[in-house]
Symmetry: C2
Subunit: 408 residues, 2 copies
């Protein structure tokens, strides 16, 4: 199934908004076996929209998705333009207008402005797409073999309508069910993963796959109409050392869930990550049950006084060392009274490196009642990336330790 | 000057990569007075690229910028497709090939692969765009009134070539110099800012402006060929309470710079932000000179034991209160021995709110030798946004305090 996407909005072309709608739509389409073939962004301008639609129809896609310009303000001209383009008469939906007016009065405490009346207009030759989280409903038009879905550009509303209406419609069009595998990995670059995974996947000509790299790691998504069990087993085998989940979850979600299940508590001692690990853990709602807090020990002074790292350790081995990482993890566990202590210390860069301890050198320390250890990593030259990769390495390390408990 | 942008790459359409190139290009073009009129993404496929170019030429833009597909691998077909499209013969640049081979041997320690030979091909009817940070050079073609610039898709390389070649060319085309103002603000939504700023800006018909909102605040950029001094004064006046800089810098850059200048040190006591303030401060290279560290005090236990918040304060006023915020700021300043203590405590949500203390309620505390105070904020319902907005409020608060010192 071939899909074209038209995203409408001056804010996208001025760079005031990054077009995350386009990548989100591309990804979710791929996951249900549809292919985003082309994406076009134009200004809020009826001539530009018409010319864009003419161009997109030329390729005869099965679906055209349009986002943006369905709001109540003067520059929201998509509705009117589409009605004209598809020869639709606008019918005023009195019932919807009443419910919208009621909603405004009750929830916002104001009388609705007449500007919003455009949101109650319905095409006489098209269908409506309900909007579960906003007031701008979407439209469906049919043009020869192409189905046109028009959605608002507000990401939360667009996503909700995609998930509730368009994606189910696409799935429903398939003669057979599409199976999907997801592997979330961390610790190896895309090219190395491709080297070991592609030779396997290329055997199965009936399945499609994609690599989705980010600073946190690489996700592999495999889709196919036949059973994917064999692929699952073979891929899981060759990437077992870098795989952390086959679900949609982030690693911080998994850690908070597992800590809570195991009735464990966590304390952090962050040096080179500067608070990023704590930030990531506390992004998870409910993390306060197991996460007690941490010490951001950027200076040696704080490492000594708040974490009881021995002065001698810092002198002999340096702040960036296996020994210091271990003492930091022990220190935070004891001082905060948590079951686990997790630490990071490294040279984030771009300056501060030496021949023995180059930029990108990082130690992650772990300590619980039974065991204390530290692992060494060597990342790159970029400060921001080194911080992110250190946080991911730390989270991956503690998650692996937590999983051992589940096995025994 | 009208510009169209063609971004080429399957990874963009599959959603594996967010098209940040497009928004970056849109923004930098706007800043030099050019208008990105249309943006198109197609697959790495010669027919798709040709059809896209035909469509873009139809609008007669002054410039077409093309990104992606100039690398050495098999799916990098942009070079060949463009040579064919613009009727160019490929000339092998022996000199460049030698320097590229040398570079590989010296820096990467390997003989260059023959795959890279395509990167030494030059069109006989076009010009080259030097690549200061990579091996894929860009191309310039002329087609009637349209100038075509083709660049690699790697963001670092694309940006460097835009800044060094294309932007100077655009500026040079202007008969008069374009002046620019930038105002970075935080603490008010785009709509409220527009209400007070637009009536002023709309007086000056010769200037153009844009609002660039993000979770951190709203930037206002004004461009015009006439003097912008009067606008500068009038806008600065009406937004003085939310303006933090007229430069390109982030607020964390400004804080680290000012702390260093004033020989001050900073300690953080983070509850609802969970480490995010520390993460942001330590994104700045050189922050270790003034940033000593912090206490992430997610539990009350840590607030009492590591920050010396009085048990009675927590019982009487609660963890989310002006009193607790102040005691946290004092506690971290004293325990870490820094000149300034900065704290955050709040209800990030989505659960945990009460009628008296709803989700989004946040207190930011500040303490130095002379003064200790806390400010109350009420943000929204979204956990991630509440954390970001709390961190921004905290950074804005300390920056304002640091600036007072500069005045006296």
């Amino acid at each position: 199934m071939k899909v074209s996407l038209l995203t409408i909005g001056n804010e996208l072309l001025k760079g005031a908004t990054v077009n995350t709608n386009a990548s989100w739509i591309g990804k979710i389409l791929f996951e249900v076996g549809a292919i985003l073939d082309k994406q076009l962004t134009v200004q809020d301008n009826d001539k530009a929209i018409q010319s864009a639609l003419n161009h997109l129809f030329h390729d005869k896609p099965n679906i055209i998705i349009i986002t943006g310009g369905l709001g109540p303000t003067a520059d929201d001209i998509t509705r009117e333009t589409l009605f004209k383009y598809f020869g639709a008469n606008a019918v005023f939906d009195q019932k919807y207008w009443h419910s919208l007016s009621d909603y405004f009065l009750k929830r916002i405490g104001k009388h609705i402005s007449d500007n919003n009346k455009s949101q109650a207009l319905v095409p006489d030759n098209g269908d409506l797409i309900p909007n579960p989280v906003g007031s701008a409903r979407g439209f469906i038009f049919n043009n020869n073999e192409t189905k046109i879905f028009a959605l608002p550009g507000v990401p939360m509303e667009m996503k909700s309508m995609m998930k509730n209406t368009i994606i189910p419609w696409i799935i429903n069009q398939r003669p057979t069910k599409l199976n999907q595998l997801r592997f979330r990995t961390t610790g190896k670059p895309e090219s190395s993963i491709a080297e070991i995974v592609e030779p396997i996947l290329d055997h199965y000509t009936s399945c499609d796959y994609g690599f989705f790299p980010s600073a946190y790691g690489v996700d592999i998504v495999v889709t196919g109409e036949t059973s994917l069990e064999e692929i699952d087993e073979r891929i899981s085998n060759v990437i077992s050392n870098i795989l952390y989940t086959k679900t949609d979850n982030n690693i911080e979600d998994l850690i908070v869930e597992t800590l809570t299940q195991q009735h464990k508590t966590l304390g952090l001692a962050e040096s080179c990550t500067g608070g990023l690990i704590g930030d990531r853990i506390t992004r998870v709602s409910g993390s306060s049950e197991s996460f007690h807090g941490g010490i951001i020990s950027y200076s040696n002074h704080v490492k000594e006084n708040q974490l009881n790292v021995a002065h001698e350790t810092l002198i002999t081995h340096g702040a960036v060392s296996e020994e210091t990482a271990k003492e930091m993890a022990i220190g935070v566990r004891k001082n905060l009274g948590t079951s686990i202590g997790l630490s990071s210390t490294g040279i984030a860069g771009p300056s501060g490196g030496t021949k023995e301890k180059p930029v990108g050198l990082v130690f992650i320390g772990y300590s619980d009642k039974k065991i204390t250890f530290a692992r060494k990593f060597l990342f790159g030259k970029n400060r921001t990336m080194n911080k992110i990769r250190s946080s991911q390495a730390a989270l991956n390390l503690i998650y692996k330790e937590l999983l051992k408990e589940n096995i025994t």
